[in-house]
Amino acid sequence: MTNTITAPAPVPAPVYDCRQVFAEELTALAREDSRVVAVCNDSVGSSNLTGFRDEFPDRLINVGIAEQDLVGVGAGLANGGLIPFVSAAGPFLTGRALEQIKADCAYSGHKVVLCGQSPGMAYGELGPTHHSIEDLSWLRAVADLPVLVPTDREQTRAAIRWAYAAEGPCYLRIPRFKVPDVIPPGAPFAPGRAVTLREGTDVTVIAIGTLVSRALDAARELAAEGISVRVLNTPFVDPLDEETVLRAAAETGALVTVEEATLSGGLGAAVASLVSQHRPVPMRLLGVNGFAPTGDAAFLLEHFGLTAEGIRRAVHQVLAAAVV
């Protein structure tokens, strides 16, 4: 089922902004298919849609600062036979229009690709109103709405292609925090399919989005200490790859989840709920708890222990718990 590959070499990799891929891929899709339209909320620039607008001025709909309208209009465009990519800053798209996402997109089955820009704590200094950390919890609770958290350029491209071809709506987080390429070409990208980035036998770290490279760094450091860490990536937070996660619980006996999201309801909660019912093992959930203090994104990741060092600590803790 899963795709196992050898770990990437431990050299500092160049980092990339996935928003570039978003713009390129969406524009390419628009060239291929005249039904593809973009919808935004006074966010042409911040959604990286300037090039799209220049090429397809009629196919970029800007509803202004009006997120409920944004998602409702998106659903209507889908009903009218188009394929809307609705793009806005993550917190406002998901929180502000949550009921439109539920009723107009998911429950009505209107195929709208909801693109949450600059998610997690990318807008660090702008504060908790601008952090998109609740999005995974909120949207995981909505039925019939896959939740996709791509990690790097290749996975962002795969996510956009998948969303375009999918039957129904989905939520797509577009990373802003610059990340290296860590997902091997050809890795699976499908609902319920995890990617095994590194084999290991003592503990499994499941990471998503911008934090995957940090999980790999931690695994390398732990290997030097003699601890064998399996690293999984689950680009679909919903639906989760239950089989691979349960196998990891059984085979390694301990789990750590890592996400740039709140601990209540995101990846960690999804994994914990699954594992506790079918294969209970010690777990540590790394994520964001509480509203963040003021600071830039790098500072805040550090503050919440969302670093290779934080992951390394969590692995030691979970192994200590597993021994008792």
């Binding site: 006074d42 966010s43 042409v44 620039g45 911040s46 800007n62 509803v63 202004g64 600062i65 009006a66 997120e67 409920q68 309208d69 917190p91 406002f92 929180g95 502000r96 807008y123 200094e125 702008l126 504060g127 109103t129 601008h130 203090p293 003021t294 600071g295 830039d296 500072f299």
Partner: protein
Amino acid sequence: MLTADPAAAARYRDLRKATRDGGADETLEVLRAMSTDIRLRIVTMIDRSQLGHIGGDLSVTDILVTLFGAVLDVDPEHPHDPGRDRFILSKGHCAAALYSTLSHCGYFPDAELDTFMAPLSALNGHPNRRKVPGVETNTGPLGHGFPVAVGTALAARLRGENRRTVVVLGDGEMQEGSNWEAAMTAGHYGLTSLTAVVDRNRLQQGARTEDTKTLEPLADKWTAFGWEARRVDGHDHAQLLAAFAPSATGRPVAVIADTVKGKGVSFMEDRVEWHHKVPDQQQVHAAIEELSR
């Protein structure tokens, strides 16, 4: 929570005495000096933080200065006095303008401004009422401050208090539906103690408001929702002062303040990119030079 700067608060008391008891000319002179000071603080803050929304900060300055300098009944040393007037900056991205005004009035020491958006600072990119005295409610997502202002004005009525509530909205922000829901509620209840000010600078984040989503005829919209609309030059303190006179019609008052985004710095004025562009060193010097003239 930051705490008041007693010396600055005392200066503010003198300033209020001057604008209340002095002649019209003196009032305007005091307000103009305060506007200059606030604009200089904004530029300096954004230069330090290398982040911020300078265009909207400079357009809303004279509105904030008129309110805090001459209209609102507030005491920076007692920021939670139950009888205080309530001020809400709904366009919360313009926190730098609000912080500069609050520190000028003595709500907290000026030195705090240097920490704007720095790690662990109280001065977040968007105002936080749990950390900054003078902030009545947390804003940042557009379309939140106005309904909260309606609620606080309703509370005043229910408690028999004759304090007033003033909310400042961005014109782009008027595209949010929640604002029109709030306008309808306030109109329905005839909340005369409520004043909504629209900072009508005709620009939003990515483009001109009228090219994004038409707002005009804006005054007619307010009137249709049961408000008294007053249209003024939002950089003219005298006109603003007149516009903040209490309502005599039994209706809430909407002040549509025509402003210029980036006001006071010629190369920023009415240019969309200065929504949140950060000036380089040369531009900072030019801005300070122009503003100090």
